[in-house]
Symmetry: C2
Subunit: 453 residues, 2 copies
């Protein structure tokens, strides 16, 4: 344990030192380094694909024995030409994004020759834990580099051969840049993560991607701020005024477009007035789409007899706390919009919740009343995504209430610092502003996008 | 213990419910509620001052026996007419600030009739722990209300009589507004705080103000995000190019303007070239100002013999990790700017650090290289303050690296949510954008400061 801790401290401290050393570099160096990484990965494509084949060979028996899903297996593969190209394009896409740091977000003249600038800057050292998708190593490394953050990466173990060579090539590419090669480091075991989680002196932010159990276990183990989401328990509320075709389209898309995603629908709330109108035909439509419905007594008893009784189940209170991640939908009746909002605020994972309505007043009440990262109107929960929002890419999705919420782009990897500079002959003291009849702070807006020093 | 936990859960849940209920109110109601609070406090001034006198009477023996400092005692008092007026003006000043919520910070047309708005909103439920200054109860309640956050307040116990009546008057005023009176609650014991720190289901952010020990103990006890600063260990680096009068003014102001403040100077770093030039006269100037100097051997041996040998001490490594909060200054020599930055980054509390220099290149290196909330040039560390920065007021000062950094104004009490709305005939599904030859997201900028629903 103590030697593992020491190893973790060495890694974390190296990341911190790499971060601090990098602060003096021109931000353009980050883009140049991204191109060097891209070039080296392209040059060594054959080795990368061979390593990837080893991961695939090792995973094959796991798929056969049902220990690994075929969708995880397909995500593990870099073998198709388009997948490798996408990995490379991902790097140049990130390089092409606007620089998120060194931007002035608040500037004031405090006194003659005394100026204040709030300037965006990297957070520092990131620890990112993610699933077994080899291209994510490259993607996260690119985002960290672009935002000026040093990073320690822990990819899923099923991708170990691939991520190991990708990581060493990234470090090799960095060694031909002004960045220390320890700017991006990769660790491979859970023990290392446990030890790193105590390095709050050196690590500023932990971003776990993956299952709810992983995220909760990490939050329990560390004092470092954690950004991410444990669950994606998204709701759709069918308002009294909902119309049929819209409801059908949005419910089916929210549930079936990609059931394993965190922004997929899990619970459908049906206004009681719809039990005898819209709900019977909607329920048949959902069953016809092979969606299993777990219903409370009122919604269950309002479903017409049909050919899919095997897709109908009775709910328990636990049903409405369950993230199915499969073509299964929890259904319950609510008596009012206000009851729907109360249910959502107490059961949602605060990821994304949507209303289907034609009522303008209810649009306003729902968007104000629901306390979630994404609050949607007549749109599928599946739109909750950094790429769809126009961020170019996303580091993860946060359901926390501080720093960043919802899909997190490069901005979420930045914070700011306040620069104050005096150009007065004798500098500036606070005392000058505290004397009777003394100077007063002026707080005059300075229009600037960059600090002039 | 278990009954205390239950009480805490009741308080925390009431705060959450009050917060959720308040989300449907027009933000202007917050200002109206602030005026009602102000009016009631004015009406009941006599009772408040009587309660305050009880606190003062109870504190008097503590001051006499040295258990309470006279500066804390004077902060406890509301008896001078100007102090009570300031308390009332504080409320109207906060009401006059721009509304920090319901502001659009990002808006895009994603497709025809599909729009995305990122809108600022309150964080939710705040738990604020602070010192025994009665006006702070009113100030924090006003900031919470203005930003739409429900709050649970824990004032220092020496102010218990005053804060108890202030809190009950605030609740009484709220009961004549659309806000639930539980929107602002006050607790009075440490046990209640411990129990509240486990209510992460209901409380979104903890803000401890006060000593380093308090802040650390709170961070150790909770999974709720904590915003604040444990220490204020600020540095001043005297660059090779520093000139005498500027150095004297800024060092003396940074150290003596208010030694007990977190933004006061604690460590002076002296470039080695100054040991035979600027330092000898500067050291005499500091001694003449009754500043105790705790020096390393090079700076100590370069001080000319003088009349204040009792103000000179030899440093140990611990000296440079010490927040004196008194007219005492740690001093050490550094061989270069880069050494100064390394020392600051590893010893600073990352609150505020300043350089005194005439060298433009060193301005750039220092402001880029120092990783602190405030990085200053030729200005006193004492400028690091929300009022001086032009925020009108501050909730606290954060030395964390996420959410808010430095002095925190109303913005630091807000986060945002993403609203997506379709006005298309059939609503919007993600699937429409995934078909071969299907629609493409357009991400066209929408110029809007308010969401149109």
């Amino acid at each position: 344990m103590s030697s593992s801790l020491t190893a973790a401290e060495t890694i974390a401290r190296a990341a911190r030192e790499a971060y601090e050393a990098s602060q003096l570099l021109d931000p353009q160096e980050r883009d140049l380094a991204l191109f060097k990484i891209r070039d080296l990965l392209l040059e060594r494509k054959q080795e990368i694909l061979e390593a990837n084949q080893k991961d695939l060979d090792a995973a094959q028996p796991l798929v056969a024995s049902g220990k690994l899903s075929s969708s995880l297996f397909s995500r593990l593969s870099l073998q198709s030409p388009s997948k490798f190209d996408t990995l490379l394009t991902g790097i140049t896409d990130v390089a092409a994004l606007p620089c998120p740091t060194d931007q002035v977000t608040y500037a004031r003249e405090l006194d003659e020759d005394l100026e204040l600038y709030r300037v965006t800057c990297p957070i520092g050292v990131l620890l990112v834990i993610f699933e077994a998708r080899p291209e994510v190593v490259v993607n996260i490394a690119a985002l960290a580099l672009k935002s000026g953050n040093a990073a320690i990466l822990k990819p899923g173990r099923e991708s170990a051969h691939t991520t190991s060579i990708l990581s060493s090539l990234i470090q090799q590419a960095l060694s031909s840049t002004p960045f220390p090669s320890t700017f991006i480091q990769t660790v491979s075991t859970r023990d290392e993560i446990s030890a790193l989680l105590s390095q709050d002196r050196y690590i500023d932010l932990v971003m776990p991607r993956g299952g709810a159990a992983l995220v909760r276990s990490i939050k329990d183990q560390t004092k470092i701020p954690v950004m991410g989401h444990a669950d994606g328990l998204c709701h759709l509320y069918l308002d009294e005024s909902a119309v049929k075709e819209k409801a059908e389209r949005i419910v089916v898309d929210s549930k079936l477009n990609y059931p394993a995603a965190c922004n997929s629908l899990e619970t459908l709330l049906v206004h009681s007035s719809l039990l005898s109108t819209l709900w019977p035909s909607l329920s048949l439509h959902l069953l016809a789409n092979n969606i299993t419905l777990i219903c409370d007594p009122p919604t269950l008893s309002s479903i017409p007899s049909n050919s899919s009784p095997h897709l109908l189940l009775a709910s328990t209170p636990e049903t409405y706390h369950t993230e199915h991640l499969s073509p299964t939908l929890s259904v319950m009746v609510v008596g009012s919009l206000s009851e729907a909002i109360k249910h959502i605020n107490s059961h949602s994972s605060h990821h994304t919740d949507t209303i289907v309505t034609e009522d303008e007043k209810n649009v306003s009440v729902f968007t104000k009343g629901v306390d979630s990262a994404g609050v949607f109107v007549n749109a599928s929960t599946r739109f909750s995504d950094g790429f769809r929002y126009g961020f170019g890419t996303e580091v993860g999705i946060s359901t926390g209430k501080t720093h960043a919420r919802g899909p997190v782009g490069l901005d979420g990897l930045c914070i700011y610092k306040y620069l104050v500079r005096s150009k007065a002959e004798g500098g500036h003291t606070a005392g000058e502003f505290q004397q009777e009849g003394g100077k007063k702070l002026v707080h005059k807006v300075i229009e600037a996008t960059k600090a002039p020093f």
